[in-house]
């Protein structure tokens, strides 16, 4: 049974530059006792997804909707107060990134772990302290830690304290946001071992947020790959790791230097996209090694290509003339030297057809027609890929085409 289900969750926020689509139509589910690892590069919206699930929203939120179902109940319908009282920390808790450095340096650890119980759930002091000490014990910390101050503890111990805090109300689901990113390898291994043990013994579910595919495989029963605010591939680890479907997943797996392999890692060209001005259609297509015409040409990009070809003299004898972008899919070309539009249209159509092997963008042309003294070029509607498949799903147009190309 699924402990958490997300359906079409959106969470956008405003900035001075424009709306950031941090979580863009995300759907997934987490089975009870399972771990879903969400893997992605920095700024891909992993942490925002966690914030959206826990309804930890900033002031400048622009859009927040969708369905979040916890144990079958849609918690999006709850008021903020009900959500805080019944869901946050009791149903779902979170280990925040860098939380171990946010412990209050002036309070004893036991008190800090117990405090939320007293403040938010009106627990008696003795009871709260007892729960805290039990929780600290469950993460393998010795008794003296309760009476220690954070600075007296090592990094690994502080991280255990933070995990104890997340576990104190015995939630069914814990979101782990880069829980080991500031720790050394050896400490990281110890913490991961603890998480494995807790998962097995307490039947905990995790959402494990990380940028590290290798580390994700330590916990993940399912893996979700995020790119530019969207889940692009998700499925059981047994499928995703050995046979990734999405070109981004493939590239990401190849970019990881592997200790026990001499195969050289390969980097992904380009720069991770901006969540404000994401690319048209498939957001990965500008960096994709196998993307083809349908993966997303906007009229502007098309016009840029024409301009580039003209500048480099590779226009095959046709003068493109000046391109005017009409909308996302249409641009109007004006003949330069007083050429008759009808002749011009014919010349263009031939040129696009002849060169479509060398310039893939030309394959996206669906219509060339005469309009107000110029020629309007309409492009194939670039489709945003949607998730395809059953247990193992990926969002790539190439998969829909059926012919999976090698990347």
């Amino acid at each position: 049974m699924a402990i958490l289900e997300l359906e079409h969750l959106n969470f956008h926020y405003r900035t001075l530059r424009g709306a950031v689509r941090a979580v863009d139509d995300i759907s997934f589910e987490v089975e009870k006792g399972h771990t879903l690892a969400i893997v992605g590069e920095s700024g891909c919206g992993k942490t925002s997804t966690a914030a959206a699930i826990l309804r930890l929203l900033p002031k400048n939120v622009a859009r927040y909707d969708g369905i979040v179902r916890l144990d079958g109940k849609n918690v999006m319908e709850l008021s903020d107060e009900e959500f805080r009282k019944t869901v946050r920390w009791q149903g779902i808790s979170m280990v925040f990134q860098g939380a171990m450095n946010a412990l209050n340096p002036t309070a004893r650890v036991g008190k800090q772990v117990a405090e939320p119980l007293q403040i938010h759930f009106d627990a008696e002091k003795e009871e709260a302290m007892a729960r805290a000490s039990e929780s600290l014990r469950s993460v393998g910390l010795p008794e003296y830690v309760e009476r220690s101050y954070p600075h007296e503890l090592s990094g690994g111990m502080k991280q255990r304290v933070v995990i104890a805090m997340a576990l104190i109300l015995r939630p069914g689901l814990v979101i782990l946001d880069e829980p080991t990113s500031a720790l050394d390898v050896m400490t990281q291994t110890n913490i991961i071992n603890l998480l494995k043990r807790l998962k097995k013994e307490e039947e905990l579910s995790y959402i494990f947020i990380t940028h590290d595919l290798a580390l994700a495989s330590e916990l993940a029963d399912e893996v979700g790959i995020m790119y530019a605010g969207q889940i692009r591939e998700i499925g059981p680890s047994e499928y995703v790791y050995p046979s990734p479907k999405h070109p981004y997943t493939k590239a990401l797996l190849k970019s990881v230097p592997i200790l026990r392999s001499s195969e050289s890692p390969i980097s992904i060209p380009g720069v991770p996209p901006d969540l404000i001005e994401s690319p048209f259609a498939c957001r990965f297509h500008p960096r994709c090694s196998v993307s083809f015409e349908e993966c997303g040409w906007s009229a502007q990009e098309f016009a840029d290509i024409l301009e580039r070809l003209r500048a480099s003299g590779e226009d095959g004898g046709v003068r493109w003339g000046e391109a005017e972008v009409e909308d996302d899919l249409t641009l109007v070309l004006k003949p330069e030297d007083g050429m008759d539009p009808v002749t011009y249209r014919k010349a263009l159509e031939e040129a696009f057809h002849e060169q479509e092997e060398s310039t893939r963008a030309f394959k996206a042309v669906t219509k060339v027609e005469v309009r107000d003294g110029g020629v309007a070029v309409t492009l194939h509607e670039a489709t945003t890929p949607y998730m395809i498949g059953e247990a193992h799903r990926a969002a790539c147009l190439l998969l829909r085409k059926g012919g999976e190309k090698d990347g």
């Binding site: 771990t35 590069e41 920095s42 090592s154 690994g156 050394d184 390898v185 050896m186 400490t187 990281q188 291994t189 110890n190 991961i192 071992n193 494995k196 043990r197 940028h211 590290d212 595919l213 290798a214 580390l215 994700a216 495989s217 330590e218 916990l219 993940a220 029963d221 059981p236 680890s237 047994e238 995703v240 790791y241 050995p242 590239a251 990401l252 797996l253 970019s255 990881v256 230097p257 592997i258 200790l259 026990r260 392999s261 050289s264 890692p265 390969i266 980097s267 992904i268 060209p269 720069v271 991770p272």
Partner: protein, 325 residues
């Protein structure tokens, strides 16, 4: 092989802390008696956990810190205790690539000004020549077209692009030696490798010697010829990367390798062996072998008494362990 580029003999760097009017100062033994050589055109990766002294070692070699003891030779010259004004030639020949691309560029300087500064300091070229060198340097780190990037401010660049600018700045003086201190640890997986490739190109094409400081053994494995493992201020093992990874001699190296996962869905079904405890205090390190309190094979009466010396057990493969064979 000729004269080594960098040669350290018994290099030691202690920091003094907490000294007061009536208190004896304590010493943090950040780097303790490290000897190694780096050849021209090779990359030595120095791997260790935080606090192992690897960063201090890198900064001491560059003479950003003055060593407490030992000797540093750079291209045959002893630079151990040179004063600032006598260090200018070293500052031209040896460069640093720091860890954080977000803080290693002055935010108020555009790229061309950041790259020009080393040239201005060393009085190299006129305006036009400097401009050409800047463009060449940007080109060599694949920031093309260079004219486009030359006028950008750091905040307009992505982390990967910034780190390329930092590499270009280190390259612009045609150095012979570069200390790269975790050059990619802050970058995303997809751009990490491209930076490492550039460093590799520089090493191979220009014959620059690299000291690559990292905590990531996998990166070291793919981008260095030799790997040195540091633990608590000591160099515990050093050797060719293949041999060190396939046949680690020091129990710490073995544990380190064990602790690093590869992407494998089977990982989740078993716990990974990990060492108990924490690295020791550098103020008051354990007697004998500094690793012995955590060592699974430590022998009483030997490891806790006698400090192991670095021994060459395989060709070019050194280890500081009494029990390694």
């Amino acid at each position: 092989m000729g004269e080594p580029l960098v040669s350290l003999t018994g290099l030691t760097k202690w920091f003094e802390i907490g000294g007061g009017m009536f208190r004896r100062p304590l010493h943090v033994r950040a780097v303790d008696d490290v000897s190694l050589v780096i050849q021209r055109g090779e990359t030595l990766a120095l791997v260790g956990e935080s606090g192992s002294g690897k960063t201090t070692l890198g900064r001491t070699i560059l003479r950003l810190l003055e060593p407490t003891d030992g000797e540093i030779q750079f291209a045959g010259k002893i630079v151990t205790h040179l004063k600032d004004k006598d260090l200018k030639w070293l500052r031209r020949k040896a460069q640093m690539i720091p860890q954080d691309p977000y803080s290693s560029l002055n935010p108020t300087y555009p790229v061309n000004k950041a790259l020009e500064e080393p040239l201005v300091i060393h009085g190299l070229g006129n305006r036009q020549e400097r401009w050409e060198r800047i463009l060449t340097a940007l080109d060599s780190v694949h920031l093309t077209p260079p004219e486009f990037f030359a006028h950008k401010y750091p905040h307009m660049l992505s982390g990967g692009q910034r780190q390329r600018v930092v590499v270009a700045r280190a390259m612009i003086l045609d150095p012979e030696f570069i200390v790269a201190d975790e050059p990619v640890s802050m970058l995303d997986a997809s751009v990490k490798v491209s930076i490492l490739r550039i460093l590799k190109e520089i090493q191979e094409n220009l014959g620059v010697g690299f000291l690559h400081i990292t905590h990531d053994l996998a990166t070291a494995h793919h981008f260095a010829e030799r790997i040195g493992i540091m633990y608590a201020g000591k160099l515990v093992e050093m050797g060719p990367h293949e041999s060190l990874l396939t046949e680690p001699l020091h129990p710490y190296t073995q544990a380190l390798i064990e602790a690093i996962p590869d992407p494998d869905p089977e990982n989740r079904f078993r716990e990974r062996p990990a060492l108990p405890g924490e690295p020791p205090s550098l103020v008051n390190p354990p007697a004998g072998c500094r690793f012995h309190p955590r060592c699974p094979i430590a022998r009483e009466g030997l490891c806790d008494v006698e400090e192991p010396l670095l021994r060459e057990l395989r060709p070019g493969h050194f280890v500081a362990c009494h029990l390694a064979e």
